[in-house]
C-alpha cells in the first residue's frame, strides 16, 4: 500500500521540482536580458573590484552586468575598442591619451589611490639608518626620495650602504616598477622622478626630452619589466625580498591585500610613503552612451563606494575610506601636504617616447 502511493508521489515531486527549476532558470534569464550588459577594459589594479561578488550583485540590482577585461592603462588606447562600452585606466595622462586618440567624452573619477612603495621592514630600517626614510607614528615616510634617486644614479649597491647586513645583496639599489611604455604606474614613477630632478612639474616637451636619459636609467636598470601593475606586486608577494626590495605600487594594492582573506601579506612587509607623492585617479571613460549611467552609479552609489574602499581605494567621501582603514586596524596617512601633479599629457607622452627610444 505504502509503495503504491510512494512511487507516483516521488515521481510527481520530481516533476514538480524540474518544472520549478525550469521556471526559475527562465525567469532568471529574463531578468538577465533586462540588464544592461556593458563591456570594459581596466588596469589590472582595478580588476578585482569589478570581479567581486558584492560589486556584481550591487551592479545587478542597479541594472548592470559588467564584463571586464584586463589591460595596461597605457595599452588601452591602442586596443580594438569597437565592441567596448567603457574603459577605466588609472591616471590622468592615460585617460588623456585615450581621449586624444578616440575622441571620448570627459572622464569621471569615482575613486583614487596614491603612489607608494611596497617594501620590507629590514629594508625600511636600512633606509632609515642611511637617512633616506623616517618612521613617524608607525608610518614609514620616504622623506628623501631625492637622495635615494641620487644613490641609484651613483650605481650604489645595497652592500655599499651602512648597516645593510640584513640585506647582503651585491645588487644595485633600484625601485621596481612596470614597463614605462605600457603602464600608468610606471608613468607616475617617471613623473615623480622628473618633479624631483627638474625641481618642478615638467612644462615643455623640450624639458621632457632633456631629462629622458636620466629617467631611462631608472627603467632600463631594472631590466625586464612587466606591462601591468599587478606584475611587480605579484613579484613582491611571491618572490619576496630577494627579488623585490622596493616596488612602486598603488597604495590600494597593498591595502586590498592586507584585507584579503587569506592575506598574502606577512608581518615584515611594510608600505613606504614617498614625499612628495602623486595621486592617481581611476578614470572612468564612457565610449558608448549606454555607459554614461554606469559612470553616475560608480560615482554616487554609497554601496559601490564602500566596496571600493575594501580594495584599498580612497573614496570620494574620505570618511568611508577612514572608517574602513580603522576597522581593519591599518595605518595610513590621512593628509598629504606634499602632493605633486603629473605633467600634461603631451609632455608625459614626449618623455615616454624619448625613453622608449633608448630601449634599443
Amino acid at each position: 500500500m505504502q509503495r503504491r502511493v510512494l512511487a507516483p508521489f516521488l515521481a510527481g515531486l520530481l516533476l514538480l521540482g524540474v518544472a520549478a527549476a525550469i521556471w526559475f532558470s527562465f525567469s532568471e534569464q529574463r531578468q538577465l536580458s533586462q540588464r544592461l550588459t556593458l563591456r570594459g577594459y581596466t588596469g589590472s589594479e582595478n580588476i578585482d573590484f569589478f570581479r567581486d561578488q558584492a560589486t556584481i550583485q550591487r551592479l545587478a540590482e542597479l541594472g548592470f552586468a559588467v564584463e571586464i577585461r584586463k589591460a595596461g592603462s597605457r595599452e588601452i588606447a591602442s586596443l580594438d575598442l569597437k565592441d567596448i562600452d567603457f574603459v577605466m585606466p588609472s591616471g590622468a595622462p592615460a585617460a588623456e591619451k585615450i581621449r586624444a586618440q578616440h575622441g571620448t567624452p570627459a572622464p569621471s573619477q569615482p575613486f583614487h589611490s596614491l603612489m607608494a612603495i611596497a617594501s620590507w621592514r629590514p629594508i625600511a630600517e636600512i633606509l632609515v639608518k642611511n637617512g633616506f626614510a623616517e618612521l613617524r607614528d608607525g608610518i614609514y615616510w620616504l622623506t628623501h626620495l631625492d637622495r635615494l634617486l641620487q644613490a641609484m644614479e651613483d650605481n650604489q649597491r645595497w652592500s655599499d650602504l651602512s648597516n645593510s647586513q640584513a640585506y647582503p645583496a651585491n645588487k644595485r639599489l633600484m625601485i621596481s616598477s612596470t614597463d614605462l611604455r605600457h603602464s600608468n604606474s610606471a608613468a607616475m614613477y617617471a613623473a615623480l622622478a622628473s618633479q624631483i630632478w627638474h625641481g618642478d612639474v615638467l612644462q615643455s616637451i623640450d624639458q621632457a626630452r632633456a631629462l629622458a636619459p636620466r629617467i631611462a636609467r631608472l627603467f632600463l636598470g631594472q631590466g625586464y619589466t612587466e606591462h601591468s601593475s599587478s606584475g611587480p606586486f605579484e613579484d613582491y608577494l611571491v618572490m619576496g625580498m630577494g627579488k623585490a626590495p622596493l616596488v612602486l605600487i598603488y597604495e590600494s594594492q597593498f591595502l586590498a591585500e592586507a584585507a584579503a582573506q587569506p592575506s598574502r601579506l606577512r608581518s615584515d612587509m611594510v608600505l613606504l610613503y614617498p614625499q612628495p607623492t602623486l595621486f592617481s585617479e581611476r578614470q572612468f571613460i564612457p565610449l558608448k552612451p549606454a555607459a554614461n549611467h554606469l559612470a553616475d552609479v560608480l560615482m554616487q552609489d554609497q554601496k559601490l563606494q564602500q566596496i571600493a574602499t575594501q580594495y584599498g581605494f580612497r573614496s570620494r567621501d574620505p570618511r568611508l575610506f577612514q572608517e574602513y582603514v580603522a576597522a581593519k586596524g591599518l595605518r595610513t596617512p590621512e593628509h598629504f601636504v606634499d602632493v605633486v601633479n603629473p605633467p600634461t599629457f603631451e609632455v608625459m607622452e614626449a618623455l615616454i617616447d624619448a625613453v622608449a627610444k633608448l630601449y634599443h
Binding site: N170, V238, K243
Partner: protein, 522 residues
C-alpha cells in the same frame, strides 16, 4: 518479491521509466564531459605528469602535453603552433619575443612554483673556499673557474633553461643591470666559461653526465630542485653545497600561460587548483618552492633569501648574450660527423642530410637554427662511410667565405653508394679523435655524431667493436647516434650507452631537428 509482482501495474513501469530517465538526465546535466586542453610544455615539467589524473578528477580537464625546449617552444608558438596553454620554466624569452614582433601569444600568465638556478659544488671544495657558509659573488666563481679550480657541468644556454639562466645571471652581474648589446662579451664571462667542462642539451641528462664523470668534475649549475634531489641520490659520491651568488640568480617561476582566450574559464580553474595548498605541498616535495603563501617553506630549502638578478630588457641583449657565449666564450671543441653514405641513402634521405648539414653551417636562420650553427673556431669533421670509412674532411669553422664554400662543396659532394660499415667507421673516427686529443689536451671537448639508415653490412660487427672500445676507446668521447631509415634502433641505442652519449630518433622528427638538438650536447 511475490507480493510486489502481484501488485505490478503498467503505470508503475511507466512512472519508473520517467523517473529513471529524468534522474539520468539530471545526473548527466550536473557532470560536464571531460575537457581536453593541449599544452606545449618545457621538458623539465615532465615530473608533473603523475598529477594529470588528479587534475582531471578535480577539474574535469585533461591536459595533453607536448614537451619541447624553451627556445624551441618559443619558436613554434611564434610560428603559429596551436595550443590552448603553454607551461615553461619561465616566460621571459617569450615575453621579449612578443615585445619585438608585436604579436600577443600570451593572454594570461600565472606562476605556479619557483626554483632558482644555482651552483652545486662539492662540499670539500666549497668548504675549503669558504663558499658553503659565506657570501659568494659571480666574480669569485669566475675567478675560480679561470684558474682551473672549478670544473663544472652546465647545459647549453640556447637549448636549456638552466644553462640559459646561469649565463644571463652571470653576464648581468658582470656588466651591470642596464646592459647593452655592446657590453655582453666581458673578460669575466670568458673566465667563467673556462670552467664549463661538461655539456648537455637538457638539465636532466646533465645530472646523468655529472654522475658518470663526478670524479673529474667539481660541481654543476642546475635548478635548486634538481640539486636537492641529486643530494639524495645514492650514486652521488660527495654531497654538494648550494651556492646562491650575491649579485643574484635567475629563478624559474613556471608560469602557466593562457594562449587561447576561449579557454579562459578552464584556465582559471586549473590555476586555482594548482595553487591550492594540497597541490602546492606536492609540488614542494619535488623541490620546487611554493607560490601559495599559506604553504610554509620546508626546512629542506637551504636559503631563505633568494637574491634575484634583473633580466635583460630586450631580446637583442638576450640573443647577444647567448651568441657570445656559444661563439666566443665557451671553448670550441671537435665535432666529428660520422655519416652513412651507403646506397640506401639515395634520394630523399641524402637530400635531408645535405639540407641539415648546410643548415648547421649557417644557412638555417630560424631562431633555433641560429644558435645551433657551428661555432667560431670549432673543428668540424665529416667522416663519410659506406662499405668502409672514407677520408676525413675537416675545418676550423669560421664565417669567412672560403671556409663556408669549402664546407658547402664537401656537403654537396657526398655520394650514396655501397654497403654500411658502421663499426669500422666508428673505430676510424675514434682514432682520428685520439690524434686530436693528443694535440689539444685531455680536456679538449670531442664528440661524435653517428648517423646511419641501415644495419651494419660490412667490416667488424657490434661485438668486435665493443671489445675494441673497451680496450682502446678513448674516454669521455660520447657518440650521439641518430637512427634513420631502416637503421637498427637497438644497436644505435647501445652504441650511445656504451660511449656515454645519447640516441636520437631521426624517424620521429626531421633530421634537421635532431641534428640541431644534438648541437646542444656538443
Amino acid at each position: 518479491m511475490a507480493r510486489l509482482t502481484s501488485q505490478f501495474k503498467p503505470i508503475h513501469l511507466l512512472i519508473g521509466l520517467v523517473v529513471f530517465a529524468l534522474a539520468a538526465f539530471l545526473i548527466n546535466e550536473g557532470r560536464e564531459p571531460t575537457q581536453h586542453l593541449r599544452v606545449l610544455a618545457g621538458s623539465e615539467l615532465e615530473d608533473v605528469l603523475p598529477l594529470l589524473d588528479e587534475i582531471e578528477r578535480e577539474t574535469g580537464i585533461r591536459l595533453e602535453f607536448d614537451f619541447t625546449g624553451t627556445l624551441d617552444g618559443a619558436e613554434s608558438l611564434a610560428a603559429g603552433a596551436k595550443y590552448d596553454l603553454a607551461w615553461f620554466s619561465h616566460a621571459k624569452y617569450l615575453n621579449l619575443l612578443q615585445e619585438k614582433t608585436g604579436q600577443r601569444y600570451i593572454k594570461s600568465s600565472e606562476r605556479i612554483m619557483t626554483s632558482p638556478v644555482v651552483l652545486g659544488i662539492k662540499r670539500s671544495l666549497g668548504e675549503r673556499l669558504g663558499w658553503c657558509s659565506g657570501a659568494v659573488s659571480w666574480r669569485d666563481i669566475a675567478a675560480q673557474a679561470a684558474t682551473g679550480g672549478l670544473r663544472f657541468a652546465m647545459t647549453n644556454p640556447a637549448t636549456s633553461n638552466s644553462g640559459f639562466s646561469t649565463v644571463v645571471a652571470a653576464q648581468v652581474a658582470f656588466s651591470g643591470e642596464a646592459l647593452s648589446v655592446e657590453q655582453v662579451d666581458v673578460a669575466e664571462m670568458r673566465q667563467l666559461a673556462k670552467g664549463h667542462q661538461l655539456r648537455s642539451g637538457s638539465s636532466g641528462w646533465l645530472v646523468d653526465l655529472y654522475l658518470r664523470q663526478q670524479d673529474q668534475t667539481d660541481g654543476l649549475f642546475n635548478y635548486e630542485s634538481v640539486l636537492l634531489s641529486l643530494n639524495q641520490n645514492p650514486q652521488l659520491k660527495e654531497q654538494l653545497c648550494l651556492i646562491y651568488p650575491s649579485e643574484g640568480v635567475i629563478t624559474a617561476d613556471y608560469p602557466l600561460l593562457l594562449l587561447d582566450e576561449a579557454e579562459r574559464v578552464s584556465y582559471q580553474k586549473l590555476v586555482d587548483f594548482l595553487k591550492s595548498t594540497s597541490i602546492q605541498q606536492r609540488l614542494m616535495a619535488s623541490g620546487r618552492r611554493p607560490v601559495n603563501a599559506q604553504v610554509a617553506l620546508a626546512a629542506t630549502f637551504p636559503n631563505q633569501l633568494i637574491l634575484e638578478a634583473p633580466f635583460p630588457a630586450t631580446l637583442e641583449v638576450v640573443d647577444a648574450i647567448l651568441m657570445a657565449y656559444l661563439d666566443r666564450q665557451l671553448r670550441p671543441g671537435f665535432s666529428l660527423y660520422v655519416i652513412d653514405t651507403s646506397g640506401s641513402m639515395e634520394g630523399e634521405g641524402m637530400q635531408q642530410l645535405k639540407t641539415t648539414l648546410h643548415g648547421l653551417s649557417g644557412k638555417d636562420q630560424s631562431l633555433t637554427g641560429q644558435f645551433a650553427r657551428y661555432r667560431q673556431g670549432e673543428r668540424i669533421g665529416f667522416l663519410p662511410f659506406a662499405s668502409q670509412p672514407k677520408s676525413l674532411s675537416s675545418w676550423d669553422f669560421s664565417l669567412n667565405t672560403e671556409t663556408l664554400s669549402q664546407l658547402a662543396s664537401a656537403i654537396d659532394a657526398l655520394q650514396p653508394k655501397g654497403g654500411t660499415a658502421i663499426f669500422d667507421a666508428l673505430v676510424r673516427a675514434y682514432e682520428l679523435a685520439a690524434v686530436e686529443r693528443q694535440k689539444q689536451g685531455a680536456d679538449y671537448p670531442i664528440s661524435l655524431v653517428l648517423m646511419s639508415d641501415g644495419a651494419n653490412t660490412s667490416g667488424r660487427d657490434e661485438e668486435a667493436f665493443r671489445r675494441w672500445y673497451q680496450q682502446h676507446g678513448p674516454k669521455n668521447i660520447p657518440v650521439f647516434s641518430v637512427t634513420f631509415g631502416q637503421a637498427d634502433q637497438g644497436q644505435m641505442q647501445r652504441i650511445a650507452e656504451l660511449t656515454g652519449g645519447r640516441n636520437f630518433d631521426g624517424r620521429k622528427h626531421s633530421l634537421s631537428h635532431v641534428f640541431k638538438t644534438i648541437r646542444g650536447y656538443q
